[in-house]
């Protein structure tokens, strides 16, 4: 762990460098490698007749931006969920938040014929909200306590519920097969930057709320009594943090479909590096989450060419060993 303040600052700087490297690599590498100079040219002297410029601006750059945004959001959402539930296995993927958002997106794409993320992001947010409520209701014991195994099982049940409904819809309406598969597998490819612009305010709101709540989140880790002792309403704080989680996870799903395990892995890495203080841990999560998703996406491009492995599958494969490790360690303690 990085103990001293200066080490932590250095850690954040290194994290930023790592993310930038991954970002540039994600733009430069692919089926047709691009020289870095082409990126500069494309940004400042765009030439509509150059194939390289078109590929860069319409495919590579949006993809890298989406991967960074989604990776950072999911990681922060996961960290906040782990703080709120005090459960190391909590994350938007495992607790069913992503599946809920995905289901309502699939409904609005295949039944309401909505086409752009700005239109169906509201469906995603509603679905995330619904799933969060369900999991919360189901995982509370009679006396309001949250047992870790029960929270995870409730999440799995809610995921199974929404995934099987989506499968049903998919088979009933075979025209939507391709697009729905995209949501189920999770992918950051083929997104238009212009279509994302309307979603940016949502991310900004979540970020602002997050900054305001950082100290309260720290207090929350010490227990609800501690927060109450500081004269703050623990329920209200949890509710606001829940809103942040839903905003981040819901918008991420609206852009990129179901990408699991980022919200699980990254907070553990960030906590190992930066410690428990959210003021350092959350920025660390954002940087590492973005780097992880960028590199997973990059790796997926080269694993079995000419096919691309959807990034959600890459993260699931990377995340499972950690999940099993945590399960082996945690379940006996609980």
């Amino acid at each position: 762990m990085l103990n001293r303040r200066s080490w932590k600052i250095l850690g954040l700087i290194l994290g930023t460098v790592l993310m930038l490297v991954a970002f540039v690599a994600s733009v430069a590498l692919g089926n047709t490698p691009m020289p870095l100079t082409a990126l500069g040219d494309a940004l400042w002297h765009y030439d509509p007749t150059s194939v390289n410029h078109i590929i860069l601006l319409s495919e590579r750059l949006p993809r890298a931006v989406v991967a960074s945004l989604v990776g950072a959001s999911l990681a922060i959402a996961g960290a906040l969920m782990q703080t709120m539930t005090r459960n190391p296995l909590a994350s938007p993927g495992i607790l069913g938040i992503n599946a809920g958002a995905m289901f309502l997106v699939v409904v609005s794409v295949s039944i309401l014929q909505l086409r752009s993320p700005a239109e169906y992001v509201w469906a995603a947010l509603a679905g995330a909200c619904l799933a969060a409520l369900l999991v919360f209701l189901l995982s509370r014991g009679r006396h309001g306590e949250l047992s870790p195994l029960r929270v995870v099982l409730a999440g799995v049940a809610v995921t199974a519920l929404f995934v099987s409904f989506s499968q049903g819809l998919l088979i009933a309406d075979q025209q939507g097969f391709e697009s729905v598969l995209y949501w189920l597998a999770g992918s950051v490819a083929g997104r238009d930057l212009a279509a994302l612009e309307p979603l940016l305010p949502l991310f900004a709101i979540a970020l602002l709320l997050c900054i305001c709540l950082v100290r309260h989140a720290n207090a929350l880790m010490l227990g609800d009594e501690m927060v109450t002792g500081l004269g703050i309403n623990a329920g209200a704080i949890k509710l606001l943090l829940g809103v942040v989680v839903i905003l981040l996870a819901g918008s991420s799903v609206a852009i990129a479909g179901m990408i699991g395990f980022v919200g699980l892995i990254v907070p553990h890495m960030a906590r190992g590096l930066f410690g428990l203080d959210h003021r350092w841990m959350l920025p660390g999560c954002a940087l590492l989450g973005a780097s992880l998703l960028l590199s997973a996406d990059l790796l997926g491009r080269f694993l079995m060419p000419p096919q691309e492995v959807p990034v959600g599958i890459m993260t699931a494969l990377l995340g499972t060993p950690l999940f099993i490790h945590l399960a082996r360690r945690g379940a006996s303690a609980s």
Partner: protein, 343 residues
Amino acid sequence: MSQSLALPDHQQQTSDRRRVISIALTLSLVLLASVFASLCLGSYPTAPAAVIEALIQPAQSDIAFIVWELRLPRILLAVLVGAALAVAGAILQGIVRNPLASPDVIGITSGASLLAVLFLALLTGTLSIVWLPAAAMLGATAAMLLVFSLAWKKGVAPGRMVLVGIGLSAAMGAVTTLLIVISDDAAAMHAYVWLTGSIYAAQWRDVVGMLPWLLLCIPLALSHARHMDALRLGDMVAIGLGVNVARSRLVLIGCSVALAGAAVAYAGGLSFVGLIAPHIASLLVGRGFARLVPVAALTGALILLYADLLGRVAFLPRDLPAGIFVSGIGAPFFVYLLYRTRD
């Protein structure tokens, strides 16, 4: 629980047993009636009298082909698969001592699905489709072994096993999705329908392949009923009662894997039957294993029979996979159960 602790007097015991027997008999009659009703229903209208005639004298009936070759095998397979999944779920819930365990939660179904989809995507050209069930069984067994060995830490704690199963399911699900994404459209749709669970176009061959597993595993599980009841009270109690815990658990889990694997092999990734049928059964007759298993089997058979019937006749001319309806009914019911059983 109270039945095994407080000793009921003789009269009470007899009336209790009578109640169980009458429930089982009623369910069997309902099942028989439902089988006959779904024999009569379908895209081609058939009168009950004509169906009876076709059943008794197939040679003289012009709907004999529909009744004997199209509908009957499919209905029987639904009954067998539903029963197998229900018993597999009942065993697992008892062993894991958790009402939320089921073949699909702890990874058996996803292991079988992974190998089945692998088979559909890569080998359909070279190997006959007859081998699909074998591939699925192999996947189920491998998944269970993997879950066991990863959850092993001086013994297998049930909670840890469930969590490890969930993690492995996620990974195997990811690989399955990957296979679907990379295979061509027709194979992908075939695999997808298979994953949802469907007994469309079942043949006598499938019924004959499925039946031995039930005939073998259900009696074997029932012969361990006393051990199971002791295991449910905890390992210490079971050892105190003279049960060889490790061996009984192995035999029972083996039965569960074989039943679930066979069911998935012939009907695809049906979820929720193994979860909710044992719950309904225990609401009806309590948790004693010897009475739970037959009632759960009948309940599971009924659930799948009606789900398949709905898929067959509700949206004519389309024939939708039974899995859609099983989860349509099963998932909300499961959420209700989870809410009700919190403790």
